[in-house]
């Protein structure tokens, strides 16, 4: 098992390097000097700009610049944000927990909807329930998150006045009230993101379940006289959910895209809204770092999925 994890780790390293290379090439190919902002920004003294130019060695050959950039990134030296006036790594660490909290809750909500609906739809394929679930799933992943977000605000905040539509980090209340407010303001973003995820996940679960339910061992379990619920939950579902783990991990880039949009709509202070505001204010070090963090998170979740897969499916773990 540990050997398997190690091998997966070794596979993750080149893809992380590849992604960093893609990011670096994009930055290097961009017309104009990305650090020319420094020269025109009156808030930055010229000697700081010169020091930064020297530090990034903008006149060196490209492979040297890449090596220097990647070492700096690995050492946690991610540069300085001129808009927020602090180190980029600190800024991101401040914002990251909120993003992970929203994304994590949304994924849990998506699983809580997708697994029961997908499994039940697969046990009765082409029934009314299956057809309704399928159509709703189709509509669900065709609705862009920015539109559902606005619809939710229109319905729950403006028409019904149930939920706040601006996310705040400094809630005035204390104790139990604080927890309630914290949950209340997270409901809409989590619903928007979670329902979007649930739509595509339901389809994965259903088709994975349909593949398994036809297998002989499921028929054997039925022939032994086990009840339907036991056959489905204990025998079929356990195996059907293994490929779903990988599919969920493959969805992570889309989830982060959705998170950026949701954070922007509900003004959640996470790294997604940080990315947008940095782009709008030309804060290059932050833009690069946030993109890199998103890339690392995608690779990390792929790694977790691979390891989970090996743990769940003993047929592949020893190879």
């Amino acid at each position: 098992m540990s050997q398997y994890v190690l091998r997966r780790l070794l596979i993750a390293v080149p893809s992380l390097l590849g992604i960093s290379l893609v990011l670096f090439i994009v930055l290097a190919l961009a017309p104009g000097d990305p650090f020319s902002e420094l020269a025109t920004n009156p808030n930055v003294p010229p000697e700081v700009a010169a020091a930064l130019r020297a530090k990034f060695g903008l006149d060196d050959p490209i492979y040297l610049r890449y090596l220097r950039w990647i070492t700096a990134m690995l050492q946690g030296d991610w540069g300085f944000s001129f808009v927020s006036r602090m180190n980029v790594d600190k800024l991101i660490l401040q914002r990251l927990p909120t993003t992970l909290y929203v994304i994590g809750s949304a994924q849990l909500l998506a699983l809580a909807i997708a697994i029961p609906v997908g499994v039940y739809a697969a046990t009765k394929p082409y029934s009314i329930f299956d057809q309704i679930a399928n159509t709703l799933a189709f509509i669900g992943f065709s609705l862009p998150t920015f539109f559902t977000g606005l619809l939710f605000i229109l319905l729950f905040s403006i028409t019904l006045d149930w939920l706040p539509f601006v996310y705040t980090t400094d809630i005035k209340a204390t104790g139990f009230r604080w927890v309630v407010e914290q949950v209340r303001q997270a409901i809409m973003p989590v619903m928007v993101l979670g329902l979007f995820q649930a739509a595509s996940m339901t389809r994965f679960v259903r088709s994975a379940m349909l593949d398994v339910i036809r297998l002989d061992y499921v028929t054997t379990a039925r022939a032994k006289g086990l009840g339907q619920a036991r056959v489905i939950v204990k025998h079929a579902m356990r195996n059907a959910l293994i490929p779903v783990v990988t599919l969920v991990a493959l969805q992570m880039p889309a989830v982060f895209g959705g998170a950026i949009v949701t954070e922007q709509i509900f003004r959640i202070p996470g790294i997604g809204s940080l990315l947008i505001s940095s782009i709008l204010s030309n804060d290059t070090p932050v833009v690069m770092a946030v993109t890199f963090v998103f890339a690392c998170l995608v690779v990390l979740f792929n790694l977790i999925a691979d390891v989970l897969y090996g743990w769940l499916d003993p047929r592949i773990s020893l190879r």
Partner: protein, 306 residues
């Protein structure tokens, strides 16, 4: 069995079998896909010929009619400057649909090229290309899209003008980040097709590899590509709308559907119609294209029994 049914008398009374007729027969069975195709055609006709029927300019400012709801003079209402939303949506719809189609074309062309190369090569090239595909699959799409537009927007704007430059950039970037599923599908098809007898026969007759690919393998691999391409149109429309919604797509004076939503989102409480019409248009276009893709899957996947 298949040979027997051909000789049966009932087959002779049917009109001559043709692959296109068979595809259409299978497609027709998917009721929602047929409805969607009609909806999409209406949408395309509306944005193409709309300006000839609805002759209101997109830039007419009328401060007496600010944020008005739907009325006879303005069927979809007006925005905060009193501009007609229907006219703006017709204009924006052209751009949104054009971006969708053009980005799909980029994705399909790049994906088919890379998939075909990977599927035909038996050496390191195939592995390298698949590694590249997997690498692109694990890139965070939206952040990278935003980064590319942030870095290259000004350069292209000066080269091709504000609208044309951004159009080229958005199409290339969206298409350039969506070719991977097509490449994988094409490679998988090629790996099995290149070993088939009819390709072997072509090879034995002395067909060059290029001719084998273009005349024999590629036509047989097109089914999944068409399905993936259809769904790519919807994904590209969503991607463009997302960019515009974040304020980072087309310039503010180009009213794409996403841009209309971006402008409308601060007026939700007093002018909900401003957001609902463009949002609804994006939704209808995307859901229709996705259902058409689903219908195509039924129609083109020969293994599927209907």
């Amino acid at each position: 069995m298949a040979g027997l049914t051909l000789a049966s008398p009932s087959a002779e009374r049917r009109p001559a079998w043709s692959p296109w007729r068979e595809t259409w027969r299978r497609y027709r069975r998917h009721k929602l896909a047929v409805v969607s195709a009609v909806l999409l055609i209406i949408l395309i006709v509306a944005v193409t010929f709309g300006p000839f029927v609805w002759r209101v300019s997109i830039n007419d400012i009328d401060f007496n009619a600010r944020l008005e709801g739907p009325s006879l003079a303005h069927p979809f209402g007006t925005d905060d400057l009193g501009q007609d939303i229907l006219a703006r949506m017709i204009y924006g719809g052209r751009i949104s649909l054009a971006v969708g189609l053009a980005a799909m074309a980029v994705a399909v062309i790049v994906g088919t090229l890379i998939g075909a190369l990977a599927g035909m090569s038996r050496g390191a090239l195939g592995h390298a290309l698949m590694w590249l595909t997997d690498l692109f699959l694990s890139l965070p799409q939206l952040p990278l899209l935003l980064l590319l537009i942030y870095l290259f927007r000004d350069g292209l704007k000066t080269a091709f003008g504000p609208e044309g430059g951004v159009f080229i950039l958005i199409v290339l970037v969206i298409g350039g980040l969506r070719w991977m599923p097509v490449a994988r599908l094409v490679r998988a098809q090629f790996l099995s097709l290149r070993e088939k007898d009819f390709v072997e026969a072509a090879r034995a007759l002395g067909a060059s590899p290029l001719r084998q690919v273009v005349r024999h393998i590629l036509p047989n691999a097109l089914g999944p590509v068409i399905i993936a391409g259809t769904i790519d149109v919807a994904a590209a429309i969503i991607a463009e709308s997302t960019l515009s919604f974040l304020g980072l797509g087309f310039p503010p004076d180009v009213p794409t559907w996403g841009r209309l939503l971006f402008d409308a989102k601060d007026f939700l409480d007093i002018a909900a119609h401003w957001a609902l019409f463009p949002g609804g248009a994006i939704f209808v276009a995307v859901v229709a294209i996705n259902f058409i893709g689903d219908g195509m899957r039924d129609a083109l996947d020969a293994r599927r029994v209907l």
